[in-house]
């Protein structure tokens, strides 16, 4: 996927000259233009920019203000500063504001292109991975206590996100101008993304307070709720519903009717009942519940509270223990939070 360089300069001729010359590097990066800091800020919101090249003296929002904004909102995006006043003092001042590079005007466009390419290569200095399991990979980062910046690309939508790790801790995440957990949840929900690893992390502040496992879990839960999770809950066997046999807890195996919704009562539109097709007693599930209780007792698991059942093609169920098992039949599109509430509350 092509990276994007944003050139910010109020000199229209320079902007378009640079863009024209940079066409020779289109296989590496494409060029976007902005005439001042304000336009650059908007472009950063609208596009996943990999590097910014900015002049310092511009109307409206100048290069220093843009550098401050970049440092606060996009600390991972390198900035190369162009200036016509290239004294050692001004260079020092510019680099102190967080710029990654400095180039004096007039400059050779090819030199600027070379600087951009060197900076962009740093994005993947630690390697690039394609079609990986992001949660697996991130847990390795955590285990190895690695410090790095990971750029994630959703290959389906071409959306880009960035994750910041220091000593294996997830500090922050960013998608364009959105950061924190909101960005992390979205990045973690991407299926088989590509990852580029940069072996440094410019972030120091821990914006995401929760640990990685908790954020990953929440992301998976939200994905479940959005109905985008793995097909395990969607796939179905083609066969007719099973004749469940009364299992032999006391060495008996009397035949029972299938655990079906025969005793199920329809449920109305109460929001609390959203996603529930019906509820009612069904003794056909008693053997499973009895054995589940025995299994729990054997491992000192405490009281048997509920049991979630996925039967493939048939509606999923939540079973509640009792003299006769109570069966809550879930609708096919039952939201994840309804299931969690039934199971855990």
């Amino acid at each position: 996927m092509q990276k994007k360089a944003l050139i910010v300069d109020d000199d229209r001729i320079l902007r378009h000259l640079v863009k024209k010359k940079f066409k020779a590097h289109e296989t590496v990066f494409t060029t976007l233009l902005a005439e001042d800091g304000e336009e650059a800020v908007q472009t950063l919101k609208d596009h996943a920019i990999s590097i910014v090249v900015t002049d310092l003296h511009m109307p409206k929002m100048d290069g220093f203000e843009l550098l401050a904004h970049m440092s606060a909102k996009y600390p991972d995006i390198p900035v190369i500063v162009l200036t016509a006043y290239g004294s050692p003092k001004s260079k020092e001042k510019v680099l102190a504001t967080g710029a990654a590079g400095f180039m004096e005007k007039p400059f050779v466009v090819e030199d600027l292109a070379a600087s951009i390419i060197v900076s962009l290569e740093k994005e993947s200095e630690g390697g690039t991975l394609h079609t990986v399991s992001i949660d697996m990979f991130l847990q390795l980062i955590e285990m190895e206590q690695k410090t790095c910046t990971i750029r994630v690309i959703n290959k389906e939508t071409e959306k880009k996100g960035v994750l910041f790790f220091k000593g294996g801790n997830l500090l922050d995440a960013r998608i364009r101008d959105v950061n924190g957990k909101e960005a992390a949840y979205e990045i973690f929900s991407w299926d088989s993304p590509s990852l580029s690893i940069q072996d440094t992390c410019v972030m120091n502040k821990k914006v995401i307070q929760e640990d990685l496992q908790a954020v990953l879990f929440d992301a998976m839960r939200l994905k479940d709720e959005a109905g985008e999770d793995e097909s395990a809950f969607q796939e179905s066997p083609d066969e007719e519903p099973p004749p469940a046999e009364k299992a032999a807890t006391e060495n008996q195996a009397p035949q029972k009717t299938p655990p079906q919704q025969t005793a199920v009562e329809p449920v109305t539109q109460d929001p609390q009942q959203k996603g529930i097709a019906g509820t009612g007693p069904d003794a056909a599930w008693d053997p499973l519940m009895t054995l589940g209780a025995k299994l729990g007792s054997a491992i000192n698991a405490g009281n048997f509270k509920t049991c979630y059942v996925d039967r493939g093609k048939e509606n999923r169920l939540v079973l509640l223990p009792g003299d006769v098992t109570t069966v809550v039949t879930l609708e096919k599109n039952c939201p994840g939070d309804v299931i969690l509430r039934l199971l855990y509350e």
């Binding site: 697996m136 999770d229 395990a232 048997f304």
Partner: protein, 115 residues
Amino acid sequence: MIDIDDETKTIFKDLLSFDDVQGVIFLSHSGERLFSEYEGETGSNLKNFDWTAFTHASKCIREAELVFGNNRIFYRRTELGQFIIIMGWFATIAMIRLKCNELIPAVNPDDPDCE
């Protein structure tokens, strides 16, 4: 009888290293225990558990989560057999499920075995 190779056994054991996973059991479709590994004392009282009856009772289930006061048990029917993971409250089933899918393709969910 299904033979569980060493690599798969290692992966099963690795599941125990996940946060709050306390036991991993793999049963044949007839309820024979092919593999089990527990953390601490979890498994000592399971020696006499009637896995055959449990297998019979769960034959119409593809995947289940049994929720207890102190623990949860994740069940998955697979092509090779039945997979049972004993967990505390802090283990995340979504993660366990993902791990299973990624690490052990052979334990991807299988259709219920009902006549």
